[in-house]
């Protein structure tokens, strides 16, 4: 018996031992991350390739559009309304101090158009659709349904990913517009009916402050958010580890990663769009 225990080296690693372990760990994490980014890029490329090669059947597409777009409308509308009202509550005292409460509409609407509308709609989509897509595809992976598709000569990316990708891509602008509209209505309602801001000046100031560019700005960003949510969620589902824990992890990872990517994309796209704006209309450059 003694031979077995004697072979185990129980000495703690020295300074250089710990350092080399640390470097090895960082290396392993970096490699895994790079591999993951490469995999996702390849996955996205295959999705684009199938999108232009052969579209899925109409009934599959309609079902995905309904599930992802139509069924997300109520929750997006509700959150949009409340965010609009919350903006009114938070901003009112600041504006009131300077006697600028009739300018509230301009601020609320611009916030909704440019930032909160698209980001809220995307967050709701990531939470409601992203996690459920990852869980659904993950379960299909675990129960060999994806293998069954391949075995029957059907491409799983064409059949499962492309409809969801197209649905996210085309439905998120509508969801963004809905979130913006409800936020504008919610903010306006709270300011004029609860905080008793003069509705004529509220509407008038808001009307001249925001332009079509602001709405286009938000909708344009939302398309990228939708694409990122679809690709990340489907990828997580496809690469789900076995068992209930694997499905749960895929679902959580889909939401968390989508949310982080939404915020990063939001920053990058905002910078890019501002540059485009100042390029087209240099007279407004600060």
């Amino acid at each position: 018996m003694s031979t077995g225990s004697a072979s185990i080296d129980r000495r703690p690693p020295g300074f250089f031992g710990r350092l080399s372990e640390g470097v090895a760990d960082i290396g392993e994490i970096t490699l895994a991350w790079v591999e993951s980014v490469g995999d996702i890029t390849l996955f996205a490329w295959q999705t684009f390739a199938w999108m232009v090669t052969r579209l899925p059947r109409k009934d599959t597409l309609v079902f995905a559009f309904y599930q992802i777009g139509v069924r997300s409308l109520p929750v997006v509308a509700l959150t949009g309304t409340f965010i609009g009202m919350v903006l009114a509550v938070q901003s009112y005292s600041q504006f009131r101090a300077f006697g600028l409460e009739t300018q509230l509409g301009a601020v609320i609407n611009r916030s909704m158009f440019r930032e909160l509308g698209p980001v809220l709609a995307a967050t709701m989509l990531a939470g409601r659709v992203g996690s459920s897509v990852a869980a659904e595809l993950g379960t299909m992976r675990v129960t060999e349904q994806i293998d069954a598709l391949v075995a029957m000569g059907a491409n799983p990316i064409r059949y499962l990913v492309v409809p969801r990708f197209l649905a996210c891509l085309f439905m998120i602008p509508s969801l963004t517009i809905m979130a913006v509209f409800m936020g504008v209505v919610g903010g306006g309602f709270y300011c004029t009916y609860v905080l008793n801001v003069d509705s004529f000046y509220y509407v008038n100031n808001a009307r001249y402050a925001d332009a079509n560019w602001d709405l286009l700005y938000g909708v344009f960003k939302s398309v990228f958010f939708g694409a990122a949510i679809a690709i990340l969620s489907c990828y997580r589902g496809f690469n789900c580890l076995p068992g209930a824990e694997g499905v749960g992890r895929a679902s959580t990872a889909a939401f968390v990663q989508s949310f982080v990517v939404i915020l990063v994309l939001d920053l990058l796209l905002s910078i890019a769009l501002d540059n485009v704006y100042y390029f087209i209309w240099p007279e407004y450059a600060v």
């Binding site: 018996m1 060999e144 349904q145 293998d147 069954a148 391949v150 075995a151 000569g153 059907a154």
Partner: protein
Amino acid sequence: MSESHSNARADDNGTLIAARDLTVRFGRQKVLRNITLEVPRGQTLAIIGESGCGKTVLLKSLIGLVRPTGGHVAYDGQQIDTLNDKELTALRTRYGFVFQNAALFDSLTIADNVAFPLREHRRIGQEEAYHQVRDALAMVGLPASVMVKRPAELSGGMRKRVGLARAIIMEPEILLYDEPTTGLDPIMSDVINELIIRTREQAEVTSIVVTHDMTSALKLADRIVMLYPLARLGQEQSQIIFDGTTDEIERCKDKRVAQFLRGEAGERLQEMRDSHESSRMHTALQDR
């Protein structure tokens, strides 16, 4: 046709599917090592072995669901790993695969599940698809009334039969069964066995059945191949420890084969006791 194809075809001698030096590794774990296996047309081959020995991985490698790390698989002389996506898709329509838990699509009705390969590969009208689905279901002994149901509404045995109906609807040349009787009661297992035999007789297909159910293997197979887990083998030992007919396996003198046939744990019980004892000693040492 590429050179490798023509070479493979030249080797072909009534062989429908052939694996040569097939090796599969997942990360650091090797599951299959240098498996060489030929299945002639019309034969029913049973691949047996204990859980974790790589039976399902071998079956999935034969259809390209698992990519081998070494060696290759040839189907009707065509080397699978050299085919492009389109050729591989065409090839897969010649296969039928019955999965362990049927792998039916939860979101589709039974009719849509069974009709799936038809709609994917053949331009077929709604009515014709309905008739073909009804016939396939009848062939596996299921009434047309199940067509509107969802997989979750069916029992395990019925789901397996739907899986079989889906596999045969394209009239494949070869049917691959992954543990067709696992999780079923003995009566339903026998029903599935009879269905496999009937399908083979009616459709004249080549069949490969992966199972650890010896009753099933002895009843169905013309030939049995037994795999052994790599972890229990030396570097030079073959992973296929038996390849022969059902009569031969019953007379086989190899202790490992005889043990599997009789369902005896043998030295595994002693290994379990040793492992428990070693784990207890390790805990005691750590506590000290």
